[in-house]
């Protein structure tokens, strides 16, 4: 019990003192996972729309791939991204291994199927006759898609939240392709693993609280945005 209370006391002190390294780690986590989520949205929204409304051979197979991708184990992603980016690997010349960019790539591989799969689900939940109605009102294909995204904006935001949630809390891939280098690629999750391993519970608890707070704040902002949408 003493261990826990003392850990929490020190953690609060650490946070209140505004330790520079803690804030740098937090900021990097936010940047990396934010970038990965953003890229996943740019990839997943069009791809999900295509899979939801398109009629082409191989669609069912692609959908099954996306759905499998939603449950990709981060360590497996870490392994393959590491191999590809390894100095002697196919993209080794880019020198990306153990950089924040490598973590962004790995996290995008994890989040993109989540965003894509949930985009498909969000759009397929719309009344299929809505497409006819929109086209019948004289919408171009692009105008129709934009209108359908607007109609599905709440579940689409949920897709975005799920994508962000899947990578901000992920540790395996970040560790493997980022290397947990202090001041360079150390993010909240990898730092927690490190401090816990060393028995430094106070900073681990502090970072854990930050991670929770971060996940909470981001989702609070998106939820607020989402709920504002329901009132219109």
């Amino acid at each position: 019990m003493h261990l826990i209370l003392e850990g929490i006391r020190q953690a609060v002190l650490l946070l209140l003192r505004g330790d520079r390294e803690v804030w740098q780690i937090t900021l990097l986590s936010l940047q990396v996972s934010g970038a990965a989520t953003g890229i996943s949205l740019l990839l997943g929204l069009p791809l999900g729309t295509w899979l939801a409304f398109g009629r082409f051979p191989g669609r069912a197979f692609l959908l099954s791939l996306v759905n499998t991708g939603m449950a990709l184990p981060p360590v497996v992603v870490g392994l393959w991204v590491a191999i590809v980016l390894w100095r002697s690997g196919p993209l080794g010349d880019l020198g990306l291994i153990y950089t924040p960019a490598a973590i962004v790539i790995a996290q995008t591989v994890i989040a993109a199927p989540v965003v894509t799969g949930l985009t498909v689900a969000a759009l397929q939940a719309l009344d299929p006759r809505l497409q006819h109605q929109l086209l019948g009102l004289g919408a171009s294909r692009l105008q129709m898609v934009l209108a359908l995204w607007r109609e599905a904006r709440l579940p689409l935001l949920a897709a975005l939240m799920a994508g962000f949630g899947s990578v901000i809390s992920e540790v395996g891939a970040s560790m493997m392709v980022g290397g947990n280098i202090r001041g360079q690629t150390r993010v909240l999750t990898t730092a927690i693993v490190l401090e816990t391993g060393k028995g430094n519970f106070a900073p681990a608890i502090a970072l854990g609280l930050l991670l929770l707070a971060l996940a909470y704040l981001v989702n609070l902002a998106l939820t607020w945005f989402q709920q504002r949408g329901t009132r219109r």
Binding site: L135, G136, L137, G138, A139, A147
Partner: protein, 378 residues
């Protein structure tokens, strides 16, 4: 070819310039099965064509094909006498308006919904606003302007959907059972309002319904679609009084349809021998002796009275029979009589009581020769 499709003004060549939409040899197949077949259908400028048929007859499929939301397997559609393919999908759809049974409103206010199609067309903001507000007012929903669409009742939402289509000032308005999902009082009010606005704009309209009364109320002409085939198109009088085949007759409520043979032709007065019972009945028409026909009779054209009593009816056709079944329908009673063949009559509830009609009772039935309609059989 179904010769009855030629009925009406659509096949008169010199009026062709007034034909806004024409369908030729249209076939829609799904999974190898033909779900819709329309030999020929023409929609004249400014008219209201009601396409009637039971559920599953292919009405919605036809409307989607006319809206170019569905590619027919065969056949062509002409818009202003030019093949539809001469226009892009988008260019054509921006000249029509579409209202479906469900209002399918977008999120946002009633106003943003009515303005939606105008925004798609990139109309200047002020003009779009003016037109949207004008049509909200004309459909009597100006007070709902800023109400979120999802808070509207079914009738209000369908008014928004109609305003949304009218605001586009389309050349052709396509409606798929637009009043079908509404309760009767709401439906009646909206039908009347729609009729008024339709007449004021003069917009050519094709609407689909399974409701005969609605088709008669709103349609200048009616087209009957049964089992995926367009069977007949013409004025309500043509279709109701002279159905093209037994299926159409049954659908439009000609309840007595019995097989027979023309036994004699006396200068337009035909004597028809009914096949099941051998009775000879009079009808009006020009058919050669020996021709096989379907003898059709509407129940409201048959009068009944108890057998043995004198009746002042001047009707040429008189039959004796026994009441098989009485089925009250509001103020009317449907009476099924066995007169050697099944014959159905409609009498008012009051006269049924006055005559003391009961199942098993012997009655006499009469109808005018002109009330009978004959459908020649191949």
């Amino acid at each position: 070819m179904n010769q009855a499709l030629g009925a009406g003004a659509s096949d008169v060549p010199f009026r062709q310039s007034n034909t806004i939409l024409e369908v030729r040899g249209l076939k829609v197949q799904r999974g190898g099965r033909t779900v819709l077949e329309v030999e020929h259908l023409a929609v004249e400028q400014g008219e209201v064509l009601a396409v009637i048929g039971p559920n599953g007859a292919g009405k919605s499929t036809l409307l989607l094909a006319l809206a170019r939301l569905l590619r027919p397997s065969l056949g062509q559609i002409f818009f202003h006498n030019r093949p539809l393919e001469a226009l892009s999908d988008l260019a054509y759809r921006r000249r029509i308006g579409l209202v479906l049974q469900e209002p399918l409103l977008l999120s946002g206010s009633a106003f943003t919904n009515v303005a939606a199609g105008l925004r798609f067309r990139r109309l200047p903001r002020a003009e779009a606003r003016r037109r949207a507000e004008q049509w909200l007012a004309r459909l009597g929903i100006r007070h709902l302007r800023d109400r979120p669409a999802r808070l509207l009742s079914g009738g209000e939402a369908q008014r928004v959907s109609l305003a949304r289509a009218f605001a586009l000032q389309p050349e052709l308005l396509l409606l798929d059972e637009p009043f079908g999902a509404l309760d009767p009082p709401t439906r009646n009010r909206l039908q009347i309002d729609f009729q008024t606005l339709r007449a004021a704009t003069g917009v050519t309209t094709v609407f689909v319904t399974h409701d005969l009364d609605e088709a008669l109320l709103l349609g200048d002409r009616v087209a009957i679609l049964l089992e995926g085939r367009l069977r007949q198109a013409g004025s309500p009088q043509q279709v109701f009084n002279a159905p093209a085949d037994g299926g159409v007759a049954a659908f439009v409520g000609v309840e007595t349809v019995v097989a027979g043979r023309v036994a004699a032709n006396m200068e337009g007065r035909l004597l028809v021998e009914i096949t099941p019972g051998g009775q000879q009945l009079e009808a009006v028409g020009e058919l050669e002796v020996g021709r096989q026909v379907l003898f059709c009779l509407r129940p409201e054209d048959v009068t009944l009275w108890p057998q043995g009593k004198a009746h002042p009816s001047s009707a040429r056709n008189r039959l004796a029979g026994r009441i098989v079944r009485l089925a009250p329908q509001g103020l009317l009673v449907r009476v099924e009589v066995d007169s050697g063949f099944p014959l159905t009559a409609l009498v008012t509830r009051a006269s049924a009581e006055e005559m003391g009609l009961a199942e098993g009772m012997l009655v006499a039935a009469a109808f005018k020769a002109s009330a009978a309609h004959l459908i020649p059989r191949a």
